[in-house]
Amino acid sequence: MKDLRDTPLLVVEDLSKRYGARIGCVDVSFDLWPGEVLGIVGESGSGKSTLLSCLAGQLAPDTGRVLYQGHDTLEMGEPQRRTLARTDWAFVHQNPRDGLRMGVSAGGNVGERLMAVGARNYGAIREAATDWLGRVEIDATRIDDRPRQFSGGMQQRLQIARNLVTAPKLVFMDEPTGGLDVSVQARLLDLLRGLVRDMGLSVILVTHDLAVARLLADRLMVMQGGHVIEQGLTDQVLDDPQAPYTQLLVSSVLQV
């Protein structure tokens, strides 16, 4: 019997996306292994979000292949891709407003994915929502409040709970700590680190913040102008950068 751990979860081959004459990302190839956290770093405009959207099936690339557990996600029909998106995959947006239903209670937000895959027992859904609010350190008494009444950090934690409640295998994150205060960021990073470890999640994490990448990522890909210019183990890339651009990126962070 073949162990899934012996094969990559995601195989990306020569992925390119242009916006007219403008470059989104070019010829990106990599493998993601089960339980691995891959950080994609680079300055603003380097193509990180474009790449992530293509991987998550939200944007159609011009060329290239994306294989999830051996299945070509670009060849499969939209129904299967959307099913994947609400079962095996999750997507955490930088702005919680893009990932939450602001008019629905915290419990409803967390329960939605369960109901989307057929949960029809109110008590069980509520129990799961309560459990998940606890796991992201939101007081259970807030279960019927709307996200509008939450702070930015709480909204982001709620978005994470909403995404992880169905125990996805692969989580896409686009600047998950982006809009938050430094102290709030630190708490969220701790939380994310714990969840990733406990659930054995595979993560593709986009960030321009190398400190976030250092804390969460096992491996890094550095992007510049749509190209991947360097990749390797996180410590290796950050402590001994090879490409001049990466050296610049790292040194500018160290000075902050």
Binding site: P79, S105, G108, A119, N121, Y122, D144
Partner: protein
């Protein structure tokens, strides 16, 4: 008797053919919202222009039309639509459910069971049951196409979380033939069980939103719910104060400034028929008994 300035039933024949095509498609794909080119009607939106166009496309000179609004035949809305078709189609009209071949309704299904050969036309304000949580039309269409209906249960979840029970009392969502989720128009949920396995044809017209959908006879219609919060077609826990009926849907009527109130059948024809047959309620005048 009919007003000669108009084509039969007001709409021109080409428009009626277009609407009939939408109706037939709706019957072929139960619960699916078929877009149609809604025409301007000589009455404001909200007055049932969708239902009126569907009725116009269904009527033949031999038909007998009944129009009800919240169960009553004598409200301004019901009277004006009935008069409209008396003038433009010259068809016979009735208030008796059993006598009618076409019934246009707003907010109720008659108490008297419908029979084969009848057509019930609903006036629909908002045809999209998913609109409440998903404002994007492009997205709701996709959700219907891919049967992604989890959101409908999120709405019911929110109901229970806020009110302790599914508080949706009107326009209670249903699943048709195990496929499309449908808004039955703002009928009370008490009427939902009559939607399914009905011998009559049921047609739904939304004028402003330009949608027609349908339930063919003997269709499977299930009201959405949770295992531990099952659907209940509730009504006021009273008998009708005029005809004594214990099973009909009731309106509460305030009778004086002192808080006096009574419960009466919302279906006025049903109530009158029962009273004519000698049934009496708590507040029936003694002398006429």
């Amino acid at each position: 008797m009919s007003d000669q300035a108009y084509n039969f039933a007001y709409l021109d024949e080409a428009t009626k053919r277009m609407i009939r095509r939408a109706i037939l498609k709706g019957l072929a794909v139960p619960g699916y919202q078929v877009p149609f080119a809604s025409r301007e009607m000589p009455m404001p939106y909200g007055w049932g222009t969708g239902g009126v166009q569907v009725t116009a496309a269904c009527l033949t000179p031999e038909d007998t039309l009944k129009v009800i609004d919240q169960g009553a035949d004598d409200t301004t809305n019901a009277v004006s639509i009935r008069t409209f078709f008396e003038r433009t189609a010259g068809v016979a009209t009735t208030t008796q459910t059993a006598q009618a071949s076409v019934i246009q309704t707003r907010h109720r299904i008659p108490e008297e069971p419908l029979r084969a050969g009848q057509i019930l036309v609903y006036q629909v304000p908002i045809p999209e049951p998913l609109r409440f949580l998903e404002p994007r039309e492009s997205e709701t269409r996709k959700m219907h196409a891919l049967e992604e209906y989890g959101l409908m249960h999120v709405k019911l979840y929110e109901d229970i979380a806020r009110h302790g029970e599914i508080s949706t009392a009107y326009a209670y969502p249903v699943r048709v033939e195990g496929r499309y989720v449908m808004d039955p128009s703002p009928i009370p949920k008490f009427d939902n069980p009559k939607l399914g396995n009905c011998p009559a044809i049921q047609l739904f017209g939304a004028g402003r939103e330009q949608r027609i959908y349908a339930l063919p006879p003997y269709c499977d219609v299930v009201s959405l719910d949770f295992e531990d919060h099952p659907f209940t077609p509730s009504k006021a826990d009273h008998d009708c104060d005029l005809c004594g009926c214990a099973t009909s849907y009731l309106d509460e009527v305030i009778t004086d400034d002192q808080g006096g109130r009574m419960f009466v059948c919302s279906d006025t024809d049903f109530c009158e028929t029962r009273r004519d047959a000698g049934h009496r309620g708590r507040l029936s005048p003694e002398e006429t008994a």
